[in-house]
């Protein structure tokens, strides 16, 4: 698996503007490495209002493990949630805070 390169801010910017759909191969490799990283929490969303509101949670990988809500404001657009989780992962991996705005 390709290591995550913290110098590739071009990929960070790409994701910030395009959280889903067509993405570059390098970004996809970075995302896959982050999403399956063994040292990062398994982030997941909990839908609190269908198609309108989601909250951030973690779940221990595995069957029937607990889902725990995180103290984070709700999202009203899934793209904001994707960016927020990207920022959390980045911060944990590299100790660097990425811009809040998407």
């Amino acid at each position: 698996m390709t290591p995550i390169d913290p110098a590739r801010k071009d990929l960070v910017e790409e994701f910030r503007h395009k959280t889903t759909g067509h993405q570059s191969g390098d970004l996809r490799r970075m995302l896959n490495a982050m999403r399956t990283h063994p040292d990062l929490p398994h982030y997941i969303l909990v839908c609190t209002r269908p198609q309108q509101e989601w909250r951030l949670a973690t779940k221990v990988p595995g069957r029937h493990t607990a889902v725990e809500l995180l103290d984070h404001p709700p999202f009203h657009d899934p793209r904001d949630a994707e960016w927020a989780v990207f920022r959390l992962r980045w911060s944990t991996l590299f100790g660097e805070e990425l811009p809040h705005e998407r």
């Binding site: 959280t19 889903t20 759909g21 067509h22 993405q23 191969g25 996809r28 995302l31 896959n32 999403r35 399956t36 990283h37 398994h42 982030y43 997941i44 969303l45 909990v46 839908c47 609190t48 269908p50 198609q51 989601w54 909250r55 949670a57 779940k59 990988p61 595995g62 069957r63 029937h64 493990t65 889902v67 809500l69 103290d71 999202f75 899934p78 793209r79 949630a81 994707e82 989780v85």
Partner: protein, 750 residues
């Protein structure tokens, strides 16, 4: 923090999926922490809650159901096991019990293998696996309880001959385990003895396999101490045998005087009975559909079909999370009034903010059609995905798979909390073995209006299956085109007879699972002048089997090839329900291309795209389809990923059986790189595999005439229906649908 996880407090199911006027459906509900609820019936029109969707539209229907009902909690007796009713011949103070086992969770805790003991454990005997994973025998007499264990942990997925003898004269209980295979440093062969006082009396007690009887509550029978794994050829002898002697006798049990019973699970594989082949005929039955037709310890590998050598398929695989019928008490029943029109309805159960909708189909009167168009609701596919756990169990894999975070609904959270609600054909059991059976006699929380799939689309926002199909009924309703509705189960039962009453048959968005009677019926329909509108993607892909005696239970063995979330063990590809070979229809010489003009090309779940018209779209044969449409791009909008082409897509492929007269009217462009072909498309992997590089990965919109004056129109895309309602039905996808319907309803032969 003050925010709590959303919780679903009302769940329920109906005892039927489809009912005709004059027939009755019983609804059963379980409510958590509620005193009462209000019930009523609604006709469902739309439940596409996507910001660009039509929102929730239903029509209340007055019925005798309307009213307030007492709320109660009802438990689910999950876990599969087998029961042999009490019989005097089963009793002996000196006896031996033996069987072959293939444990799959030897270390999960205490598990019952065979037992005749009171629920409180004060009388009888019980052979099982103890908390250390070793074989254990317990005897209980008036003088106390004695347990003896071998002390050697059983191998995981290793065949082992196990048993115990009780010598009533010497007061000795012996237990043994004799693995079929050992390795240096891993030999689990062992035997142990203990003394007991008193006599072991099990008279009046049932003999159970794979669980202990706990209690009976109305129609429900609850077990406990469930075992995961296979059991094969259990025997009961009226003598105390050592392990070697019992194993030697195992092969020819019916000629031995000391034999009490010999159960042959290789018989009655299609049913629920377990047969005692001894003269005592102490037959029993299985509960909660454990998996049958499974390889035994004596499987040679030379035979792959259990029908050809049932003695090599004498094992039953039990699971602690199997469920067939919750057996709940009925809360209310509905006898469908004669004047209700065919459609998709739901029982609405509501208490304040808590509610559940239990969908069901009202058929036209039996043997009649009340419209010239039939919507064939793909209930077999709904059943395959019933209570799917992929998002909650899939971890980071699912995020990469769908290129985004999953969004768990209250339904998903309840499924995550309660394994007793059972699984989908995409899940695995607690022991890691694939779920091959799915029953509808349980609350199915993802066949609900407004409920999307947690991992399809960002945060699970794309309508999917049941909710992706409702826009079609919305479209028909909006245009005032009468449409009957029937389910896959109805097609399975009636075959061509059902379809032949209609000028046009429309599928759902994802009719993936087909039994042979279903496929035969549809094929015959298209060859006899019928007009088929295949409005989805990845259709007619898997061959499934319905249980002959248990209505509403479906089986799939995911064998050989195809997109599989689990893979059946080698030699276990044949369905137990009907003996048919499980797996892809394409692998059985019936590619769907021949039926529909297109076949599965690939899938991706983060976005959809559009089709671009081809020169074929200007062929005079297709002129009726594009009447009034000047656009080159078709479906560059929609609630399922933003386009009409996507999620799971099919292409025309003449090398795979698409008829030579198939017109490819339009093809998708620009699928993302989260799209991949199914394994059946990858005979040898190359970099030309993902959506932006793979010329074979596309959705084709096709049309072809069939013999007998019929025709087939195919969209090759799950996302198609998500574009129907766009802009108040004023769009080119809806216009194509109107055009095709107009011509297909015309009886003039093609």
């Amino acid at each position: 923090m003050s925010v709590e996880l959303p919780r679903k407090r009302i769940i329920g199911y109906g005892d039927e999926l489809s009912v005709a006027p004059g027939e009755t459906i019983a609804f059963k509900a379980s409510c958590e922490g509620l005193e009462s609820y209000e019930a009523s019936i609604v006709r469902l029109i739309s439940a596409d809650l996507h910001p660009d969707g039509r929102g929730w539209i239903d029509e209340p229907v007055t019925s005798d159901v309307d009213g307030s009902y007492r709320a109660r909690e009802q438990a689910i007796p999950a876990g599969s096991w087998a029961v042999v009713p009490a019989k005097p011949c089963l009793c002996a103070e000196t006896f031996t019990v033996a069987a072959w086992i293939w444990p799959t969770t030897p270390l999960k805790g205490e598990q019952v293998l065979a037992r005749r003991m009171t629920p409180d454990g004060t009388r009888g005997w019980s052979l099982g696996i103890d908390s250390a994973g070793t074989l254990s025998m317990q005897v209980a007499t008036t003088q106390g309880v004695v347990s003896v264990s071998t002390g050697m942990t059983l191998g995981n997925r290793v065949w082992c001959f196990v048993g115990a003898s009780v010598d009533g004269e010497t007061g000795t209980v012996t237990v043994w385990q004799r693995p079929q295979k050992s390795w240096p440093g891993h030999d689990a062969t062992d035997e142990a003895q203990a003394l007991f006082k008193g006599a072991v009396h099990a008279g009046g007690l049932p003999l159970t396999f794979a669980a202990a009887f706990e209690r009976k509550d109305g129609e429900q029978t609850f077990g406990t101490g469930f075992y995961n794994g296979k059991i094969e050829a259990p025997r009961l002898y009226r003598t105390a045998l050592g392990g070697a002697e019992a194993q030697a006798r195992q092969e020819a049990p019916d000629s031995q005087k000391s034999l009490i019973s010999a159960w042959d699970f290789g018989r009655d594989i299609t049913g629920t009975r377990i047969s005692d082949i001894s003269a005592n005929q102490a037959h029993g039955h299985v509960l909660n559909v454990p998996t049958r037709g499974m390889k035994g310890h004596n499987w040679t590998g030379e035979v792959l079909d259990w029908k050809a050598a049932p003695h090599q398929y004498g094992a039953i695989h039990f699971h602690d999370d199997d469920i067939h019928d919750c057996g709940w008490q009925t809360d209310f029943s509905l006898t469908v009034p004669k004047d209700w029109k065919s459609g998709i309805y739901a029982a609405r159960l509501q208490s304040g903010e808590d509610r559940d909708y239990i969908p069901f189909v009202v058929l036209p009167p039996r043997g009649e059609a009340t419209a010239d168009v039939l919507f064939l609701m793909p209930s077999a596919s709904y059943m395959a995905y019933a209570n799917e756990h992929s998002a909650s169990h899939g971890g980071g894999f699912m995020q990469s798979f769908s290129n985004g975070l999953s969004g768990l609904s209250a339904q998903d959270l309840l499924l995550n909390e309660r394994p007793d609600l059972g699984y989908s054909l995409y899940d695995v059991h607690s022991d890691g073995s694939g779920v091959a059976y799915s029953s509808r006699l349980r609350p199915i929380l993802n066949i609900r209006p407004g409920v999307t799939n947690a991992w399809v689309g960002p945060a699970g926002t794309f309508p999917w299956q049941f909710n992706a199909d409702l826009p079609l009924l919305d479209f028909m309703n909006h245009h005032g085109i009468a449409c009957d509705v029937a389910t896959d189960e109805d097609l399975h039962r009636e075959g061509l007879g059902l379809l032949s009453r209609y000028q046009v048959v429309m599928t759902g968005s994802h009719p993936e699972y087909y039994s042979k009677p279903m496929l035969d019926g549809l094929q015959a329909y298209t060859e006899r002048g019928g007009r088929l509108m295949y409005l989805g993607g990845n259709g007619f892909y898997w061959r499934v089997a319905y249980h002959a005696d248990l209505p509403g239970v479906l089986e799939l063995r995911r064998g050989e090839d195809g997109i599989r979330d689990w893979v059946a063990e080698g030699g276990e590809y044949y369905h137990s329900f009907d003996g048919s070979y499980g797996g892809m229809w394409e692998r059985q010489g019936r590619p769907i291309h021949a039926l529909a003009g297109v076949g599965m090309a690939g899938q991706g779940f983060d976005s959809s795209t559009y089709y671009r018209r081809t020169p074929d779209s200007h062929d005079p044969r297709a002129a009726f389809i594009f009447e009034g449409i000047e656009d080159e791009l078709i479906g560059d909008f929609g609630t399922v990923g933003g386009g009409a082409a996507g999620i799971e897509v099919d292409r025309c492929d003449f090398s795979k059986g698409s008829p030579p007269n198939t017109l490819v009217l339009a093809s998708s462009e620009g699928l993302s790189d989260t799209y991949y072909p199914g394994p059946e498309e990858i005979d040898n992997a190359s970099p030309l595999i993902d959506g932006s590089q793979n010329p074979n990965l596309r959705a084709d919109l096709t049309f072809m005439e069939t013999s007998g004056g019929g025709a087939v129109f195919s969209t090759g895309s799950i996302a198609w229906m998500g574009s129907l309602t766009w802009n108040g039905f004023d769009n080119n996808v809806a216009q194509i649908m109107r055009n095709v319907l107009k011509r297909f309803r015309d009886t003039e032969p093609f």
